[in-house]
Symmetry: D2
Subunit: 283 residues, 4 copies
Amino acid sequence: MLTIHDFRTVVENYKIVFFDAFGVIKSYNGLIPGIIQTFDYLAETGKEYYIVTNDASRSPMQLAQTYHRMGFHAVQHDRIISSGMLAKEYLDLKVNDGIVAYLGTENSAHYIERSGLQALPVSAIDEGNIDQVNALVLLDDEGFDWFSDLNKTVNILRQRTIPAIVANTDNIYPVSGSNNVSIAIGGIATMVESIVGKRFIRFGKPDSQMFMFAYDLIREKRTISKKEILMVGDTLHTDIIGGNKFGLDTVLVLSGNTLPDDAETRIRSTGIVPTFVCEKAVV
Amino acid sequence: MLTIHDFRTVVENYKIVFFDAFGVIKSYNGLIPGIIQTFDYLAETGKEYYIVTNDASRSPMQLAQTYHRMGFHAVQHDRIISSGMLAKEYLDLKVNDGIVAYLGTENSAHYIERSGLQALPVSAIDEGNIDQVNALVLLDDEGFDWFSDLNKTVNILRQRTIPAIVANTDNIYPVSGSNNVSIAIGGIATMVESIVGKRFIRFGKPDSQMFMFAYDLIREKRTISKKEILMVGDTLHTDIIGGNKFGLDTVLVLSGNTLPDDAETRIRSTGIVPTFVCEKAVV
Amino acid sequence: MLTIHDFRTVVENYKIVFFDAFGVIKSYNGLIPGIIQTFDYLAETGKEYYIVTNDASRSPMQLAQTYHRMGFHAVQHDRIISSGMLAKEYLDLKVNDGIVAYLGTENSAHYIERSGLQALPVSAIDEGNIDQVNALVLLDDEGFDWFSDLNKTVNILRQRTIPAIVANTDNIYPVSGSNNVSIAIGGIATMVESIVGKRFIRFGKPDSQMFMFAYDLIREKRTISKKEILMVGDTLHTDIIGGNKFGLDTVLVLSGNTLPDDAETRIRSTGIVPTFVCEKAVV
Amino acid sequence: MLTIHDFRTVVENYKIVFFDAFGVIKSYNGLIPGIIQTFDYLAETGKEYYIVTNDASRSPMQLAQTYHRMGFHAVQHDRIISSGMLAKEYLDLKVNDGIVAYLGTENSAHYIERSGLQALPVSAIDEGNIDQVNALVLLDDEGFDWFSDLNKTVNILRQRTIPAIVANTDNIYPVSGSNNVSIAIGGIATMVESIVGKRFIRFGKPDSQMFMFAYDLIREKRTISKKEILMVGDTLHTDIIGGNKFGLDTVLVLSGNTLPDDAETRIRSTGIVPTFVCEKAVV
């Protein structure tokens, strides 16, 4: 039988807490009730937080603003680590010039705009400029026409030997309605990858680079051991196995993707074992 | 080194020839030059033909008409075996009543229309009728809005424990333009299947049922050995491995998916070995 | 909630019954209690049976004898359809001469011994005879040294462009002990296939050819509709989806791989829906 | 056409060089000819090196000794980063007590021996101690009986919900003989993982943690930018995509897994593009 732990009792033993966003802090309905008091508690007790999210749909600044608009003012943009930031770092280090074609909204394209690079939606690529395309980034499932732009994406990758970067590894995300979901860009990426037969570069949990990015930000300020960090998430295949592999203690919360009735079965069938299970991330 | 055989010399030794359609008989440009004389030769020498195609976009009758319009009058509709016919047989045997939801054009829906069943496009499914949906069929990549209807498909399959049938196993098909392709419904099906985590039922080559369907039509008329049948196709992963597995001798033609320069490498790397390789299916 | 049907009430409506062997007729403990009276009932009521099994470890004759030794005399060898028989048919039709290398026991090699072919265990292949090897067949998980012969198998398939045939698609099979299993040759085949990157030819349920083989035997004697055949199995991924796809009504029994407590969850999560669920195949 | 660069010209522009071991520094025949002068050149020009290897068969100290015995004295054990070290870090952080069962040689077990943990080969696990097994580590393909111990491994993972750690992600490794290979523990791990249906934790290139481990060692001593590091490897799927993803410039050498004749085709078909291609890592 699954033991359900009290979140406050668990969190007391750590100095730093990493939170997943969707299903932990917020849902499609808004904030998870009680999450504001959790962040107040962290501030009072001198614990640091980071939000580690597979969300490349907008910048950390814009993500922070969506929290502020919901009345959750404690969230600072420089404590948000998004998978889009890793895609950006990759482009900074590895792509010097030319066009970066993307699938996603204009907001998401923020991650690829910098001097030397021209961000163009896939729909704007044609025979006249395809030879200048030096990378293709899959950022978000919205902002483009699936039929014409996914077919175009396949053909760009057949013509050009360039890196294809996926800035969000999720397959689905929850939307309003009874247990409904939407296909995320990670699911689309897997289809395109298998059709073109090429290997894509994926950023996002469970990959260690997400955790390393946050860990490095902390270490710039002070010495820390991985034993002092707790990762809190609602998804076994991203948050929990990723946190475990990076060497962190992990909490599975039951306020998102993993339902209370399924938690035990899923842990046993996947072999992905969180250090603790809590109802939600609320003290 | 790959030996290229003369098609007429090969075909002389068989009584019945199975042809794949796309890349063998026709391309996006129209008929493969010389194919009409091949069928004339078959008629003169008393050899039977069947066209065995992963095409569920329209009925055998409609498929035959497209050949007739191109001046290729030898093709009879009752010699065309399409993967859609297997999907239809499945529905006949296994689904007695209710709604069959589909992705595809109205033409493709022909395969699911019969007494007792109501064919509705996925876009027409809502909370009022979802409980009557008893099967979902993926027929064609056109005729629906990818964004809204693929998301809806995922949610129908999350809510209903019903069979999902894929009537075309191809991932891509060639379109006009320099070596360009389109994503086929088989590629889309694989994405949806992996997202919902359920097992779909696939009809089409390389599955044996396609070959069996043609083989049964022949046996209704007379006794035949598999040794007397030749399968001709342009794709190793569907036509050739499927034909081989069913026990037929196989010809790989280089007029479609497999380019002359790649044939040897692909045969060696996949381990899928045709009995013969010919330039095209032209005598 | 899952409805459990009475097996006799279900079987009354069919003229022919296909049975899986392991988990339906027998277990590692011997016969499933009551199975003899089921076969008596079938004989009394004039219903035909076939045993359709992914077992290539010995010939139908030998398989029948193991039943006879357990006191189950009703089983006739010509009513047993094994995946090994399909491998044999493939070799008959497609491999004319040379050596067929195999992994398995000497008993299993029976399926590849015939005029014109020399059956040699993989361990007997060396630089002197490798050029005559024209096919490789994976028959059984016993009868060879895994370390040396699996490594040798990989290297044979890297050197020779020949068909690799898998005569049993199962990944595991139950052995005595508390819920223990053994790795089957199908699981080993998947590893070797992914390591050499070539496409293997697999015979066994859920593939239609297994069902077609039995169906053809029946049709040689008389006319039959698929609606008159019932497939009984304990495994969703082989017996049930295979039977469904072939167009048969299916019974999932809970005496083998699928445990009573898991049945409902597994049906819902895989989307593989049997026509009926029964406790066991006992009238 | 593929441009082949001169290794010395390339390496001049970097301060630190990461080397893969097998196929770059050594082969099954011994050292790659000329590699000693490469390391002399690095020492003379004040460039640092690290050896980043998916080899968990022995400790860095033992690995260094094998180089010394071949007359290659420049290699220091503290410059060798093995995937076994990451497995060790994982156990240090995440497994507090009990038995760690392993597949591999006694040498490889070095990575799991520390206070609080008891390292036992899988063959030594039985009903008396299985309840104390808190992790299972796959270290090496030698040192155990494949048949009995792989079957036992499957059953341990069916009975216990514990992490399974793979300390080497490679599928194969070259051995002497004409282009021959052996199955590596990574290939075995994939089979066991798919059979038990659980998610394993993998350490080794292309995973970022390997590169991060080396990168952290450097940063303890001084400030460095990823732009100043060059990764040299012979394998696209591990060295090159891993290095690329971590943000490093990469060199593909043609002295190991990737043959000169195949390099261009493989780069184009996988979409994994090294920054440079050199014949070998020799100045």
